[in-house]
């Protein structure tokens, strides 16, 4: 029995270096992307991550066309494309009648169309599948250092900008009365979203990078009622999802990125029913209340 548990849950990581690397990469990504996702959700920007993830595609494709399957070139290309779209959306919202979400819709669609066009001109499409669906089982040292570096930058910037980040969402008028740091905060936050999506596409691919950002945050909302608890629970769920996802992918011979995202999605659905603020509690105790 103990041996079976060991074989099922731990052996793949102990016996195989590439599984260990994948786990380390996913841990770095969870530590980094999950808190960003919590703030995306609290700022009602959950879909912004999705849109920017699509926008990254042409940059990464261009990087690929110029330099082949090079980590540096694709990362840089993705960063630039994501940044341009995020800045155009945020900037134009401040000087024209269109709001940020509308601008974002426009530019991510353009960017995505351009990306698909670029990808289709390439005959060797197999390599580009890595771009779309990631290659978490093929993370080399370079990629791990990149993931860890992005996690470090993200945590430091989130810690520094925590107060204005909370206030911009909770009480924007108060922030505006007391400080001019609001716009900077918003731009730094958008930069972090782009950075983490680019980190995520190394491992999970452009389309699923956003999953590891948003799903742990939304699931954690059913358990936690305070920001600090929310951040910790989301991180715990993300780590659990990565671990189980990697195992599922190993044992059932499934693609890793989708496996991780599906596990995270299952955790969300479980939380939706079983969480402290979930549906089951409401169904089981519909009309109960405490003594006055």
């Amino acid at each position: 029995m103990i041996d079976w548990v060991y074989q099922a849950l731990f052996a793949p990581f102990i016996d195989f270096g590439f599984m260990r690397r994948a786990l380390v990469g996913c841990i770095a990504l969870s530590i980094s992307a999950t808190p960003v996702g919590v703030f995306l959700m609290l700022r009602r920007m959950s879909l912004t991550g999705d849109a920017i993830a699509h926008a990254i595609l042409p940059g990464a494709a261009l990087g690929y066309m110029v330099a082949g399957l090079s980590l540096g070139a694709m990362t840089l290309g993705g960063l630039i494309a994501g940044w341009v779209v995020a800045l155009l959306s945020g900037g134009l919202a401040r000087i024209t009648v269109l709001k940020e979400d509308a601008n974002l819709a426009v530019f991510y669609l353009l960017s995505l169309a351009l990306g698909v066009l670029l990808v289709s001109t390439q005959s060797r499409n197999i390599d580009l599948l890595h771009l779309l669906f990631g290659s978490v089982l093929a993370l080399d040292n370079e990629a791990l250092i990149l993931l860890a570096g992005i996690a470090t930058i993200t945590l430091i910037l989130l810690a520094v900008f925590l107060r204005p980040l909370i206030l911009e969402c909770l009480d924007p008028d108060f922030l505006r009365r007391h400080s001019k740091v609001g716009t900077t905060t918003h731009l730094v936050f958008l930069a972090l979203v782009v950075l983490n999506l680019v980190a995520g596409f190394q491992a999970l691919g452009t389309l699923m990078a956003v999953g590891i950002m948003i799903l742990p945050a939304t699931a954690a909302r059913f358990w936690a009622r305070q920001l600090d608890q929310l951040l910790l629970v989301a991180l715990g769920l993300a780590l659990l999802g990565c671990w189980l996802g990697l195992l599922m992918s190993w044992h059932l011979d499934l693609p890793t990125g989708p496996a991780i995202i599906l596990v995270l999605g299952s955790l969300h659905i479980f939380s939706l029913f079983a969480g402290r603020d979930g549906l089951l509690k409401r169904w089981l105790h519909p009309n109960k209340h405490l003594k006055s």
């Binding site: 900008f161 909770l170 007391h178 400080s179 905060t185 936690a224 305070q226 920001l227 608890q229």
Partner: protein, 255 residues
């Protein structure tokens, strides 16, 4: 009102405030002294909130000036309806500690003495032990007390309150009025937009009656006369789109 300019905190010089050329406050003269407890009353659309926005420099005067003989004062402001995202998962104590912003800013750490100050502020507004509750669990009156606790921590010499008692019960109003009087006793200047004239007569020594034009400013009993209030009721509420350019600029209209 003593006319000692050395004591004046704020001086209104023929001030006109408004939006897109339509005046909301029309030719205001007068001054507010350090330590004044001033109620601003008048009909809806009479320019009360606009005056506060002018003081906060959120809008620029269409004419005239606001001058600060003692230098522009640091001010704390309680909006009429705070645009708060109350679903944000945050504790009451963390929210109140935002009142430390004028000293700690966006980045500096909150010290343990700051946390004690938060506890004291919560105690002062009658919410001892509420620090660990989450924001979304508060009633309307409790939320207003929490906002007052944050104002308390801001420790500003000039405090602007826009209809602070609009949606709170009597017990809360009594407690918060006591707090306002304590602010005045500490030498702070308080300007409050109010609707309850009985409350103004009982608690506010000075009053500004504003119905776009200034109908009176000074000691409350001399301002809130039957005649002035009747005039205020007759104010044309809607801005006249065809109104000609105002030529009052050379004329004194002091109330």
């Amino acid at each position: 009102m003593t006319n000692n300019p050395a004591q004046a905190l704020i001086q209104f010089n023929n001030l006109t405030l408004g939006y897109e050329m339509h005046p909301a406050v029309h030719h205001l003269h007068g001054q507010i002294l350090t330590g004044d407890l001033l109620a601003v009353v008048g009909p809806n659309g009479g320019g009360k909130s606009t005056l506060l926005k002018g003081l906060m420099e959120e809008i620029r005067p269409l004419g005239g000036t606001i001058s600060w003989p003692l230098g522009r004062s640091q001010l704390a402001y309680l909006p009429q309806r705070a645009r708060l995202d109350l679903d944000f998962p945050l504790r009451v104590a963390d929210f109140v500690s935002l009142g430390h912003w004028p000293r700690r800013g966006a980045f500096a750490a909150i010290k343990s003495t700051d946390k004690q100050a938060v506890e004291q502020a919560l105690k002062a507004v009658g919410l001892t032990g509420f620090g660990k509750r989450s924001l979304d669990s508060l009633s309307g009156g409790q939320l207003q007390r929490v906002l007052f606790a944050r104002l308390l921590l801001e420790d500003a010499p000039l405090i602007l309150l826009d209809e602070p008692f609009a949606a709170v019960d009597e017990a809360t109003t009594v407690d918060l009025l006591a707090l306002i009087k304590q602010w005045q006793a500490e030498g702070r200047t308080v300007i409050a937009v109010l609707h309850d004239l009985h409350q103004v007569r009982t608690h506010f020594p000075k009053c500004l009656l504003l119905a776009r034009d200034v109908l009176g400013m000074g000691v409350t009993e001399t301002v809130l006369t039957a005649e002035n209030l009747a005039k205020a009721r007759k104010m044309q509420v809607l801005a006249d789109p065809l109104a000609p350019i105002c030529d009052l600029d050379e004329v004194e209209v002091q109330g």
